[in-house]
Amino acid sequence: MKSGSNLEKVLEAGHFAFTGELGPPRGTNAEEVREKAQHLKGNVDMVNITDNQTAVVRMSSWAACLILIQEGLEPNFQMVCRDRNRLAMQADILGAYTHGVRNMLCLSGDHCMFGDHPDAMGVFDIDSIQLVNMVKTMRDEGKFQSGGDIEDPPKIFIGAAANPFAEPYEWRVHRLAKKINAGVDFIQTQCIYNMDRFRKWVKQANDMGLTEKVYILAGVTPMKNVGMARYMQKKVPGIEVPEKVIDRLKGVGKKKVADEGIKIACEQIEEFKEMKGVHGVHMMAIEWEHMVPEIAERAKVLPRPKV
């Protein structure tokens, strides 16, 4: 075991993982975090806690992670390269680990211009692949980037993102290979709507032997309404929503769109369960946490394994 996190144990035991996501509040209301967490408890193996998501200031990811731990859930500490330099990153990793954090997701982060402080300096001292490698060096070699020794190194299960839908397509598996070389343990993909493209990407990754070296969790976000689908299609960088998905949502009565969105997600999950090279699903039910119990039920991923 690299970290002994619940997620790692679930994956190591060969179970199909099911992870969730939670965005911290734009303030100090811990109750809001606890309430969202209750919907996820028992329905997912671990919960990603976003880090100033879309470059908007929120309660820090590690702080919300601690609330999750108090609530008996396992957090996945997301860390973006936009807001901290290597000193702050390493310090936060030590601190978060000390308080029980065992998973991390290493991300570049959206550019500041998307958020509420568009004039802020983007730090980007290191990039997301270098962050993966930094956490691995801390864990496996017990070293800081300076070369200095860490007393009792943090044992973190290291995650990163992958986007099979960004061009150049041919490059995407090579980027995955790069992340594997840097030391990543698991990948959570961008939200998948274009299944054809995703199948091709996984096949390429299988052919290159990459899916034997890393766990792949397929990203799923059920569409709540047609407006959301359009927004994701037009406005969110790196997300591809095929027209036929939108047509399908439009094809049902207005009251049934959300239900249809969940239906589409469940069909995807059924396919992922059978897909070689996919080891689980990352459910990003953004601001829809209370629906997770129902989604998990309908996706037939309950009960979650006890490992």
Binding site: M113, A166, K178, N181
Partner: protein, 224 residues
């Protein structure tokens, strides 16, 4: 070249409000080439300032000189006999030139008339693009001659990120993704292997003021 942009007129006018006799100093190198701080631009700025101050009923006496280079003490010496006639110096050189001028004439208020913007290249007349952030450790050799430090909005060394959208950067549809271009160029050259390797963390060379003495010139520096 170093590309600069003239400051907004009102900002310049406000800086000069307490002075009645000012010398405007152009520079004949980069800022002249990028059409913002050469002899011609000095003339235009002075004409505008004179006119505005006359209308305000507070006339100003403006001198004009354009030095070959303000970032070179040798050329700044030329001003020795004239600076005393002025209350302040208004420089249209880049930030380096302005600072050297202020250092050479420490008793005079020295004011910037331009904002130094970037190291860039001439795309067309009057059209410049930023190309280099003088990181001090050039990677162009393995990035297909495209600078990721400057041209990638996140300065990534292991790009492209997941935000690249049909060759565009996530920040704007008008901004090409540097890493997409790097990929395309290296692919066309059959050199993709250069970016397959993981690039370790960068040892930044630009985090403190830098001084450079070229090999062979150390003695001169020691002599002061």
């Amino acid at each position: 070249m170093i590309v600069v942009k003239r400051k907004p007129f009102e900002e310049i006018k406000t800086m000069l409000k307490d002075y009645k006799k000012v010398l405007t100093l152009g520079c004949g190198t980069c800022v002249a080439v990028c059409l913002a701080g050469g002899e011609k631009e000095v003339g235009i700025l002075n004409a505008e300032l004179s006119m505005a101050r006359k209308i305000d009923g507070n006339p100003i006496d403006l001198g004009a000189t354009t030095l070959e280079r303000q970032c070179d003490m040798e050329f700044l010496d030329e001003l020795e006999n004239v600076v005393d006639e002025y209350e302040a110096l208004l420089s249209m050189a880049c930030g380096a030139g302005i600072q050297f001028l202020a250092e050479r004439y420490p008793n005079k208020p020295v004011l910037p008339a331009v904002d130094t913007t970037f190291i860039g290249a001439n795309r067309d007349v009057g059209w410049y693009e930023e190309k280099c952030r003088s990181c001090g450790s050039c990677v162009l050799g393995w990035t297909g001659g495209i600078c990721p430090v400057t041209m990638c909005a996140k300065g990534l060394y292991n790009g492209p990120c997941g935000g690249t959208d049909n060759g565009k950067c996530e920040i704007h549809q008008d901004q090409p993704c540097a890493w997409f271009m790097i990929y395309e160029r290296l692919a066309a050259q059959g050199r993709l292997d250069l970016i397959m390797e993981f690039q370790p963390i960068t040892a930044w060379q630009n985090q403190k003021p830098r001084t450079l003495v070229q090999p062979g010139y150390e003695k001169q520096k020691e002599a002061g």
